[in-house]
Symmetry: C2
Subunit: 274 residues, 2 copies
């Protein structure tokens, strides 16, 4: 199934939460350390308990790569646990000259078979093109990120009056000839999202930064639902997977994602009733 | 030994060439395919034949990651073949929010024990800080890259009159409190390098883009030697490692790097004699 269709299907079911598997062995419940593979066991229980309610799963490469080959084996095993109708996102923030981006695309799409990837636009079109050439995949391009450092460059204004992150949005629209580009827009940047939501046109949004980073879920849902037919997912990592550090971590994760879905429903119903 | 000292030592010996190990099994000489591990055998022969003449080795992560765990095993084995007095660069172009960049830094510095890394500045200071906090390491920050797409964002001018890549240089100088930051500046951007060489101040330069990408080695050497005490390396990947696709590939690689070192010497002597 085409990556975009996976996202659209889940959005149509009222699911907007992407579960971020930023799994860190130092943060998972202690009882799991007796398991043969604590990281994969943790991910397995999180996936099983949230699968009916999740719109997507995002695997943060850094948390696996830090353990070298063993970490990447865990990444591959985790990926196998995710049903094929749910969007999988390689949160890898890659980008390099063309022949190198091509190799990263091979890694993420051909070797691991992810549905989508996050990429860094700094190096421009030819660094993005090898990813975008995979027509069935979804390429989330960093526009405005959720962190403090977003002010250093992304929020600076060019002499033509557009900010760097707006220029990235505009270029991404140009590059989107295969209708497979999306944007990363931080939940902490609510004012900017309000002002630029129409600028993002038909491109799906991946919105991180809710919870630990300070963005509010309900604000994002309410905002995006002011425009028609927008596909989006709000990523929550620590706020779901580490909701409890005890034996009930999977149950608590499930309760938390259900809670978020209920918020979506209330916000959407309020809108309909207005 | 501190990463910066490794670079300085080699520069003092008149060595400025970084050998880029962008090793692709589809491009290595056919006779190596009978070896137990063709990629590592290729790298071993390239390293052995160039070691007396190289200033550094740069490992392009994408070319190893594309083969998953096996590729990363090859990366680790390759790294073991490089003597400890020579700078090793993880060409990984990483960068993410703080807690994620921290994991990438653990991967590259704690797990693989590279001396240095290339990072992408798009997300700003807190995405760079976890790398820079490793005081003994060297952090090469992308300023102006060698590819065509550099024009899309890097070469756009902000309303205060500075270009994005200049803003990155200025910020990098601010971030350089540990005296361990360097810059990536494409060899294909000779005019911009001329105009900005003083702006880069005391920061070491990693200069890719010679050979296959079109930059001229002698132009770079001549330019940088117009300023005092600058540490720099010019990366050459395909131009050295694929100089021959026959059994003599290692000999040809050695001849080519010696050739580049001779060019450096001639350029530097010309300068002295002027």
């Amino acid at each position: 199934m085409k990556a975009l269709n996976k996202l659209t299907n889940k959005n149509n079911e009222g699911k907007f939460v992407c579960v971020g598997l930023d799994t860190d062995i130092e943060k998972i419940p202690r009882h799991l350390l007796h398991e043969e593979n604590p990281v994969v066991e943790f991910n397995k229980q999180i996936i099983e308990s949230t699968i009916d309610h999740a719109a997507a799963y995002k695997i943060n490469f850094a948390f696996y790569e830090k353990d070298g080959e063993v970490g990447l084996k865990n990444l591959a095993k985790t990926l196998e646990l995710i049903p094929s109708d749910i969007l999988t996102i390689a949160d890898a923030k890659r980008g390099d000259i063309g022949n190198t981006s091509q190799m990263y695309a091979k890694e993420v799409f051909d070797y691991y078979k992810f549905d989508s990837i996050t990429i860094n636009p700094y190096m421009g079109e030819d660094s993005a093109a090898p990813f975008i050439s995979y027509k069935e995949k979804l390429i989330f391009i960093l526009a405005l990120t959720s962190n403090k450092g977003a002010s250093d460059f992304e929020k600076l204004k060019f002499e033509d009056g557009t900010y760097l992150f707006q220029k990235v949005i505009d270029k991404s629209l140009e590059w989107n000839v295969n209708n497979n580009c999306g944007l990363v827009f931080g939940a902490t940047q609510l004012d900017e999202l309000k002002e630029n939501i129409l600028r993002t046109s038909n491109m799906p949004l991946l919105i991180p930064g809710v919870g630990a980073q300070g963005g509010r879920f309900e604000d994002i849902v309410a905002l995006i639902n002011t425009i028609p037919n927008k596909n989006y997912i709000i990523n929550i990592s620590r706020g779901i997977i580490y909701k409890s550090s005890e034996k009930d971590f999977a149950t608590k994760a499930r309760e938390e994602i259900i809670n978020y879905n209920n918020i979506s429903e209330i916000v959407l119903n309020n809108k309909k009733n207005m």
